[in-house]
Amino acid sequence: MADLSTTFAGIRSPNPFWLASAPPTDKAYNVVRAFEAGWGGVVWKTLGEDPPIVNVSSRYGAVRYNGVRVAGFNNIELITDRPLAVNLREIAEVKRAWPDRAVVVSLMVPCTEASWKAILPPVEDTGCDGIELNFGCPHGMSERNMGAAVGQVPEYVEMVAAWCKQHSRLPVIVKLTPNITNILAPARAAQAGGADAVSLINTVTSITGVDLDLMAPEPVVDGQGTHGGYCGPAVKPIALHMVGDIARDLPGLPISGIGGISTWRDAAEFIALGAGTVQVCTAAMHHGFRIVDDMIDGLSNWMDARGYRTLADFHGAAVRNYVHWGDLNLNFRTLARIDQDLCIRCGLCHIACEDTSHQAIAAQRIDGRRRYEVIDAECVGCNLCAHVCPVDGCITMAPQPTTQPKLVWAQHPNNPLRVAAAAE
């Protein structure tokens, strides 16, 4: 059985599955249940200064898609609404009782050195393994100049990270907001401030829907709504991209991947793209902590099948293949292939291609029976048909052999700014 243990920014945990800072990690009761279920670590829900903030009633919105519930999820909850002392006491008790699990404490206080300097010592006294700076919460706290209001200004990210490194011995993880133009700017700032790691993504600014009876954004609070933070399976592609950018351009900076991770396969993808640990919230809020069972043995079984003994064996393995568009081979050609034995003759490939792409799938009738055939000369290999086909393995994309060398845009004849080949 594969070894899933991790050491992330100096923080050890028996597996890479951490619960993200969120409602599931707000209290000792929940965290103990999570550890009993097998989670490798938690990031305790964000602590702030007393008096505690106040939360609204009606806090979550969700996106359904074709009958699937919680395809996307958002919240307008703020940081912990419990007194600081209560949280600190419970963190200390839990860490004492579960020494092998990672307990990281998320923090958010006003953007002054005094505030950070004040909260760090009592947090460190709990015996926790590290701190995560919440620079990502996009609602409520940002209106008070915290959360994403800090994370969106690289200079502030660097400044606060530096204060934390100066006033604490704990590993510092900076949690990044995706609500920026280029994730590399705050990531570089965190690194410049001395942060030991980054975690991302925090939630995406969002409105999950509009209640058409109340004519108000969801979730509705007494007839009104506000934007919230979006997460869950729908945001995974956004998160993967940002994780990949940092892994590629800031090699060596540890990344805790967050964003729609629901299964071991999601986790493997984040790890392959450079994440050292993964953090989960929505999937646990949807199904409970027991989902970690399958995450652990699913990842382990997959690693065994691939011959990976440790996470390091495939950590970042996909990063070298994550390139800029300009590095892609323009001489590569792939063509759709339809397995006529598997085809159920639904016609979805044909209509998608006919209406919206390249008219490369012919709809035929042979003895009254439908038959869909790829017109190779028209097929640009876009993958659309393979994506819309409801039958696994029915439409595959077949890379075509070529004698031509790799050709990138920089050298392409159509590029007015092309770089002449060395021989010319």
Binding site: I344, R345, C346, L348, A363, P390
Partner: protein, 452 residues
């Protein structure tokens, strides 16, 4: 046959308790809940040029109506159905979907479980009927008046189509109630809660349609007069005749036509008052045989046996219907034809069957070997036939026939100008849904004739 003599004629009402009867004649396939419907709707792949739609005689845009259920657009869903098939509600309940839309569903290729199109159609149409007592409106009056003979699915579909186009329609119906076979011929558990009448009342809400009951063609009306008195005539007169076994003793007590048995059952509110044999033999291989035998069991018959002269593949009852009968405790015996009706005291006591086999041409031929089934009641379900007498004019056949039924062209025009026909009285499959399509096409043809 002494034992037979002692027990012959055991026909009695009230074999089951009222609660058992109520359960036996409740909805055989209860409606989908709103949640079930959305889950099922999301199973639909929304096929392009969908095979299900092609398999529907009325060409309902099935992927289109299912998608509208999934999105919560139930009104749009129901209207998509009803624009193609005004009897979408009853077709959702009575269509043999296993050989039509659901039999063509691409899901069958993958998992042997089609999308439940019939049940989804019921979800949408039930919703609209409950929400909107009058969803259709009429075009401006044209001043034209059309006679429709027969208030079954064909006649009423035609009438509804014409009424929407602004024509006036008078429907002549021989029976006391409208609905045709939906009212008199379909098994009770397929159309519960007086659905046939509720549906007809709902579709008549469009206005412009008058039904005159107790008016039969050939008895109270003649075709020539209808042609003179109206701008066009549509005949949806069904099959008035039933085939006989051609054996001595068909008038014995206890021997009946299955269609009469089913009609009586449909018209009797208190099923406990219906006499049923202890041992019932049904002769035939169609859905009428299935419905008669299954309802006999559900009324409390101890044994119900269908005997058919050929094999399971030759039965016109679908495989699904055969399964249904067998699940209801009906025994199906193949390859035997009735040879002799046995009597005792003027009542039927049993049937002697001659074993058969198929010859090279697929016909059943006698083997010479016989066996006997005891029976207190024998129900004949060997087919219905078109009776051409009402369409005779001046002693000669006024309309050309095709395969013994009224000949029509693609527009459902008969050989007589201005006379149209559809439903079971023309050649083709005898299905409610096919009758509705006939009526729909005829209405469009009549409209073109009158205003074209």
């Amino acid at each position: 046959m002494s034992d037979t003599a002692e027990t012959a004629g055991d026909i009695a009402a009230g074999r089951l308790k009222p609660a058992e009867l109520a359960a036996n004649f409740a909805d055989a396939h209860p409606p989908l809940s709103p949640h079930e419907a959305v889950v099922e709707a999301n199973r639909c792949y929304f096929c392009y040029d969908a095979p299900c739609r092609e398999a529907c005689p009325t060409g309902i845009d099935i992927p289109g109506f299912i998608r509208r259920i999934a999105t919560g657009n139930l009104r749009g869903s129901a209207l998509t159905i009803l624009e193609a098939n005004i009897f979408g509600g009853s077709c959702a309940r009575v269509c043999p979907t296993e050989i039509l839309c659901e039999g063509a569903c691409v899901r069958l290729a993958e998992e042997d479980r089609p999308v439940r199109i019939g049940a989804l159609q019921r979800r949408a149409t039930d919703w609209l009927m409950a929400q909107d007592p009058r969803p259709f409106t009429r075009a401006a009056a044209t001043g034209r008046h059309i006679a429709v003979v027969g208030a079954g699915p064909a006649g009423l579909a035609c009438a509804h189509g014409l009424a929407r186009l602004g024509h006036e329609v008078t429907v002549f119906e021989a029976r006391a109630k409208p609905g045709g076979l939906n009212e008199y011929g379909i098994a009770a558990y397929k159309l519960t809660d007086d659905f046939a009448q509720r549906e007809v009342a709902w579709l008549l809400s469009v206005g412009g349609i008058t039904i005159e009951h107790g008016r039969a063609l050939g008895r109270d009306l003649d075709l020539a007069a209808l042609r003179r008195g109206y701008d066009a005539v549509f005949l949806g007169i069904g099959l008035a005749g039933v085939r006989a076994l051609g054996l001595a003793g068909e008038t014995l007590g206890g021997v009946r036509d299955a269609v009469d048995f089913i009609a009586e059952l449909r018209q009797t509110a208190d099923k406990g008052r219906l006499p049923i044999g202890r041992r019932v033999v049904v002769i035939g291989g169609g859905n009428t045989a299935i419905d008669a035998a299954t309802q006999a069991r559900r009324l409390g018959a101890e044994e119900a046996t269908i005997v058919y002269r050929r094999g399971p593949a030759e039965m016109s009852a679908t495989h699904h219907e055969q399964d249904w009968a067998q699940t209801n405790g009906v025994r199906i015996r193949h390859f035997a034809a009735p040879h002799r009706l046995l009597a005792s005291g003027g009542r039927v006591a049993g049937v002697e069957f001659m074993r058969t086999r198929l010859d090279a041409a697929g016909r059943a031929v006698a083997t010479g070997e016989t066996y006997t089934l005891h029976a207190d009641m024998v129900l004949k379900a060997v087919g219905q036939v078109f009776v051409p007498d009402p369409v005779h004019g001046d002693g000669t056949l006024a309309l050309a026939l095709d395969e013994g039924r009224i000949a029509v062209d693609a527009g459902r025009r008969t050989s007589l100008p201005g006379v149209y026909a559809g439903g079971d009285c023309i050649a083709g499959v005898d299905l409610t849904v096919a009758a509705v399509e006939d009526g729909k096409i005829a209405a469009a043809s009549i409209h073109r004739q009158l205003l074209g």
